[in-house]
Symmetry: C2
Subunit: 323 residues, 2 copies
């Protein structure tokens, strides 16, 4: 595929074009992903999540500046969830990143979650792969943490930063368990505001009470991203987490798990497509669906009939396009 | 099934027992659901969602009192999401409902979403069905709205109340689109606090700008649940929405859609179970999965191989237990 070749040789426009194709789920996705596969696995990914208003974009912006000063190339994926109770990243946040817009070593892409219902879009991983294949050293994935997004991000990136602000203190009590699962590093941003010290102490005591699954003890860092305070240390802690993951074998384990999940997800997606095609083509199943809708048959009996119909055909019908 | 018979004849203990079986996903679920199927469809369901701290439990409590005063029996399902950034319903909230704990006409059940990753547990619908078959006239489903929960609830219940508090005003700007999709009725609770009038005005102007999918214009009600202010009117508006749904044919359409979704979901679930069984039993697929985990094959090629393996067998293997 010529577009892939050009992207792999470092051209930016083909990269943008490929990301668009992947985002829209065009049939070419399979071909693209096969094409870039041999070039995957170099990039290190860092996710930044947390409630709205935590300064996540500014944190990414400043961390990007540190990475650039070390000569590393950076990809940024900003995911804007449109969940009703979360708020979404406000456009103004992005504007703070504009210092990097003219830097050819930084590639920034926004993605909306509209349609994927609060979770991280399944296309996010493919976009990350494109950035990886393109040769980015670090990929930042920034997203407002709501619903299952923050669990998705933990499973998608290598290091997860959870960014909180001092005002979050009161809410912390009710979010303990979830936060503990997710954060590799806690960031108390806007730490010049009242309550920052208290929040750090609260997080510390939560961490002491919470048994870790592995040997990593999540550090808690106070930052003021907007004033560039604490960013160097945050960067070093992220680096230290990377080294921990590598030396402990955890990185390898995670990547294996990610590949497995992705594969199983793709198989399921394919079967689901085939099933819905069968549902629309097969006369018996169409009429069964009508009975279900009318409440003339209980869904459990209907499932059994569907199953035997699918199996009696010997196979599910083919569909044109893989997931 | 004897337990089902006893529940259908009005015994409370078998109801609790059946709910537990359904929640835990025991194999008996299919048998239970088939058994209660002929008795379904009488109950009217009202969902109450919104950010934490909106007084949702108190609203349910007061609406329950109104329903009871009209001689209607009530079921309450309180779903506690354990999403890290949402908080979850605090136990203390439940305590406010205790006036109903001794009322045999009110059945209260808490469900945790742990495991279903932020969405409404798939078992919620089955528990609602048990309450419906048991003969409850009204079923309240209360849940903190986060991630996809509030979309799930909209698809699960007949009437959706979105409960906000005056302080939510500032956040409203960023959540417009989502709220409009969900709410059949807006409740500005704790309306004695500053900012209540402003929030009502903001919601009104949002509603004017937002095209409705149907003829229902969501009302905005100011309440103080804790002082029992505005509850009668809220109850009447919920009733008015029910009448709108019935007379417009919308209720019928929604129930058809719910049945269809539920059926398709169950079919997918069954196929997924069969697939994972095949994955563990089939030597070729097991070794393929190993290659995927090791990164020795790209997932898309692996999907194609899996597919042909599944199809060459002619059928997926059987599994013991339906969804």
């Amino acid at each position: 595929m010529e577009l892939v070749e050009r992207m792999l040789s470092g051209a930016l426009q083909p990269l943008s074009r490929l990301i668009s194709l992947v985002e829209r789920g065009y049939p070419a996705v399979t071909e693209i992903m096969k094409g870039i596969y041999p070039r995957l696995g170099r990039a290190y990914s860092i996710g930044i999540t947390g409630p709205p208003g935590g300064g996540k974009s500014t944190l990414v912006d400043r961390l990007t500046a540190v990475a650039r000063s070390k000569g590393l190339s950076v990809g940024i994926i900003a995911v804007d969830p449109t969940s009703p109770f979360s708020g979404g990243a406000v456009l103004g946040d992005r504007i703070r990143m504009q210092q990097h817009y003219l830097d050819p070593g930084v590639f920034i892409r926004s993605m909306a979650t509209r349609g994927s219902r609060g979770g991280l879009p399944t296309t996010t991983r493919n976009v990350m792969k494109l950035l990886d294949a393109f040769g980015k050293d670090i990929i930042f994935v920034e997203t407002v943490g709501v619903g299952q997004t923050e669990l998705d991000i933990m499973e998608t990136v290598d290091t997860t930063l959870v960014a909180l602000v001092p005002e979050a203190g009161d809410a912390i009590q009710t979010m303990k368990a979830g936060l503990m699962e997710i954060a590799d590093i806690f960031v108390v941003n806007k730490a010049d505001r009242p309550g920052a010290d208290r929040l750090v102490v609260e997080l510390e005591s939560m961490l002491m009470l919470s048994p870790r699954m592995n040997q990593w003890q999540p550090p808690i860092l106070a930052t003021q991203a907007i004033n560039d305070v604490g960013i160097g240390e945050l960067y070093r802690e992220a680096k230290r987490h990377q080294e921990f993951l590598e030396s402990s074998g955890e990185l390898l384990r995670r990547r294996r798990q990610q590949r497995k999940e992705e594969f199983l997800h793709a198989v399921e997606h394919r079967l689901r497509n085939r099933l819905s095609l069968l549902m629309s083509e097969n006369e018996r199943l169409r009429s069964l669906l009508g009975q279900v809708e009318n409440g003339e048959i209980d869904p459990y009996s209907a499932v059994e009939i569907t199953e035997s119909e699918v199996l009696s055909r010997g196979r599910l019908p083919g569909v044109g396009q893989p997931p």
